[in-house]
Symmetry: C2
Amino acid sequence: MSYFVGIDIGGTNIEIGILNKDGKIFSRKSIKTESKNGARKTFERIFDKIKESLNDLNLTLDDIERIGLGIPGPVVNNSTVKIAANFSWGNDFNAKELLELISGKEVRVINDVKGIALGESIFGAGRGYKNSVTIAIGTGIAAGIITDGQIIEGFNGAAGEFGHIIIEEDGYQCGCGLTGCLETHCSANGLVREGKKRLNRVEKKEENRLYQKINGDLDRLEAKDIFDLAKEGDKFSKDIVDTFCKYLAKGIGILLNLLNPELIIFSGGVSKAGDIIVDGIKKYLPKYALSISLEGLNFKFSELKEDAGVLGALAVAIK
Amino acid sequence: MSYFVGIDIGGTNIEIGILNKDGKIFSRKSIKTESKNGARKTFERIFDKIKESLNDLNLTLDDIERIGLGIPGPVVNNSTVKIAANFSWGNDFNAKELLELISGKEVRVINDVKGIALGESIFGAGRGYKNSVTIAIGTGIAAGIITDGQIIEGFNGAAGEFGHIIIEEDGYQCGCGLTGCLETHCSANGLVREGKKRLNRVEKKEENRLYQKINGDLDRLEAKDIFDLAKEGDKFSKDIVDTFCKYLAKGIGILLNLLNPELIIFSGGVSKAGDIIVDGIKKYLPKYALSISLEGLNFKFSELKEDAGVLGALAVAIK
């Protein structure tokens, strides 16, 4: 029987799984990323953990058919990270080559969000759908676009930069350098900024439930606070979520008119807010999407949850 | 040797070509569409013309391997036109089935703009590029998206509705029912509307060159008038084209951030204005597109020109 390794490199942690091609996870371990020690050191520590995991399972490297690696940033040819946006490992960093050198195994690399989208399409909420878009909403927002079962990588690996489509002329400045990006509204950071802005305008702050929830400390405000109060029916927080959903509907409307997928999957931390997001989006979508793009459209939430990273890496390994 | 038939059904004319798989055109004939006589009558007239063309070439139906058909509207499974937007032939009109019944030949159907995009990618400006988007600008605007050599059809055949992405909250009402669509600005109709609006505001109309060009008859204003004067350096018309390019850059910026193609091909009547469009877009793109999406990006114009329709239909026939 043959096994695969699925690795998900995040900013803080690296998840390492030993799996079979059907997505069954035999082992999952986590190490700190500590990327500042360099790519080689980091990859060697990953490889040590792989060997440790195999040992625990009474397996050897010979049992491993291929390694899949999910990593932030634009990836081309399932090998090279074009731009060092997340780790200071240099531009055109050939992650495939380095991990193959260290492990002696064939490696395939994929952008983390694209991996998650592929993982959902094979093992999760996207099973049975040929055209789906997975939208990961966390600190920022990004998408993995699947058409006819294939992930769209883009010429420089930069397809799916859904967070940086311009939806508001003269809007907020975004960290990417552009102005009015979807991400400035439709991310945890965007929601928190909007919450703070509105709280600052409230006259009798002590009577405001959101203000009470964070004990008047605006620095403590999190997206979850706003979603939780909105779900409890608090009008102030409901209005913030409504604005969030309106912008998100505008972005998704564009996505639908361009790609006409049959399924949108929400993933990432913010998606845990659940139906309140989908309900809000559905309210505004007819304003932004052609009726033919809405016909037969489904919304789902990630089914892979905390395993999304390693299963996404597996997805590119078995393709 | 085997031949193919490429048919392009337009609102006014139908083009019918006899071609080989390499895109060599042996015969091209045109008939009036006259769609009001019904699909069956129209298709029978097409088939008569095919037989006439074959006869002229001393060929028979046995020499035809397959028929490709380009048609307006959303097409699914290379067979069915989902919505009767252009001809009153009913929803879910199975064009493949009808033409196969009449001709006895295998037929593949594709949306006309998607066909043109596929045709450009195989025979024209897109040769050698795996990821391209062909933007057809005429009365309206639409796109054909090619990723990894495949056209994106969409669940209901409605991918590529680039003209209906919302780029202006509270903009003009569009014929599609939405408000603020790209098409309300970036089409021949949009440009003419903008021209008329600005001409109406001019005080000394007699001194305005655009006004002079159309002899003061605003109903005569065409997109070409505006482009021609802009190219001659007339400031009034240059400003109108600049606004057109700014909106188009906003739309293309979204396209680039979502799909990261390596090539944009301009097709359709308005694209004949040429470099003035590309120059205008390039000026504004850095405001709307991530720098990684612009890296290595090429702009070209249709190379298939008046043969785009039949070669587009051929493209789906040989795939």
